[in-house]
Amino acid sequence: MAKRIFVLGLDAFDPKLCFEKFKAELPNLSKLMKNSSWGISNSSIPPLSCTAWISFAKGKTPGHSAIQGFTSRKDFAYTDFFVANSTIIEKERLWDILAEQGKKCIVMNVPVTFPPYDVNGIMVSSFLTPNADKEYCYPKEIKQEINEIANGYVIDVKGFKKKPKNVVLKELKGMEEKRFKVAKHFIENKDWEFFIFVTTGTDRIHHAFWADMDETHPDHKADTEFKDAILSYYKFIDEKIGEVASLLGEEDVLLIMSDHGAREMHGFVNVNEFFIKEGYMKMQEYPSEPTLFNETKVDWNNTKVFCTGNYIARIFVNLKGREPQGIVKKEDYEKFRDEIKEKLLTIRDEQGKKMNTKVFKREEVYKGKYVASQPDLIIYFDDLKWGANQMIGFNELFSHNADKGRNSANHYHKGMFLLHNAGLEAGKRSEINLIDLMPTIIRLLDCEVPTAVEGKSLV
């Protein structure tokens, strides 16, 4: 069994890009692939960073958490949402289990770890930290050490949709340089048995530059000077992989993984507009311009269904006895939900082409005590080639602005993993589930896996 495990979490690092398209340009990853077990990991449903990193760390599907995304409905309220934070997650994530069993843990930059807490080691919270003035480290003294090592810490690159692209690229790399500097310092100078460090720039780079890379994307411009921006970022990360791997001991296990992948996104389906057009949703006042769903005036007494969430549609039935002004009777729920599912499957794309849309009923994909608080339906439009938009006021079915600025990539439901030095047969293995990695890590560290974990250990 391993004495130490280092997990390099690369948010949104895409398997098709890293294992295929860019492989020849990524010498460190390619070298590791030769003597590691690697492949595709199926993300959580939905493949949002928030739900995915929680699912990974719990070894469970999202039905075990009240969190639906970065924001979640408060007790079925229409417009009152809570923000994902560590205080509302039961202490059953990977590091909680390991710390309880005496393992020294370092948890760095994993989404939904603010406020940070005691993990028998160090916790540095992620981009959902309110701002850098906050206490984003546990213990608090670590903040000072980080500031000295990295000459100031960056929580996230703000306004990356509006800034000039060359500035965004520079800032994303600058942010990760600082973080890797800190992570490498911790690897060498702190006492740890489990270390997880997650990058954020690997996610942002796809959202900001996919159309520059992808000649088939409708927003692609032939004269773009950022055609290789994503490749250059993958190369940058590959260098970091080499640097981190060189600091690990011969017996240390290295897991490189993403929470989900990325793919081209051609625009958004305005789901609430669809419901209005189909007569399922009524407005007291139709907004004069595209407006966030929770800032519009919905006529709830005449609305049967609505959508929250961007990118991946989260559909809620306006259910009597559950929603404050619910009108769909409980006895009609199943039939109505099936009707909505069928309606959503009829949506064709902007060119009138049939979409490869997937609709999930919550109980079909989730277990756990929070299943009932999760959306009634979750939709992947055209296998996530189209995002969902909750905003109202477009007067049409499709849009290209969810809120601020364009975005040419969506998350994809397949992420990557590479497990090195874990005693597994080298080479590509059949697809695993993201939730399998948590029990794998626990077993590799010779600790006990909680019985309620849904994932299956690979070892």
Binding site: L48, G69, F70, T71, F82, V83, N85, S86, T87, I88, F114, P115, P116, Y117, D118, F127, L128, T129, P130, N131, K134, E135, D156, K158, G159, F160, K161, H207, L292, T308, G309, N310, Y311, I312, R314, Q390, A402, D403, K404, G405, N407
Partner: protein, 42 residues
């Protein structure tokens, strides 16, 4: 002695609890602003 120790341990535990940070309404507003900036307004 036992009760003294348990009282002491109890107090220590309470002290540790005090160190735990809350997620305040102000924090929530700050994060919401970040999410909107990121377009992750879901």
């Amino acid at each position: 002695m036992k009760s003294f120790l348990s009282k002491l341990l109890g107090k220590k535990k309470e002290k540790k609890k005090e160190e735990k940070q809350d997620f305040t309404e102000e924090d929530e507003q700050d994060v919401l602003e970040t999410l909107r900036d990121l377009q992750y307004v879901d």
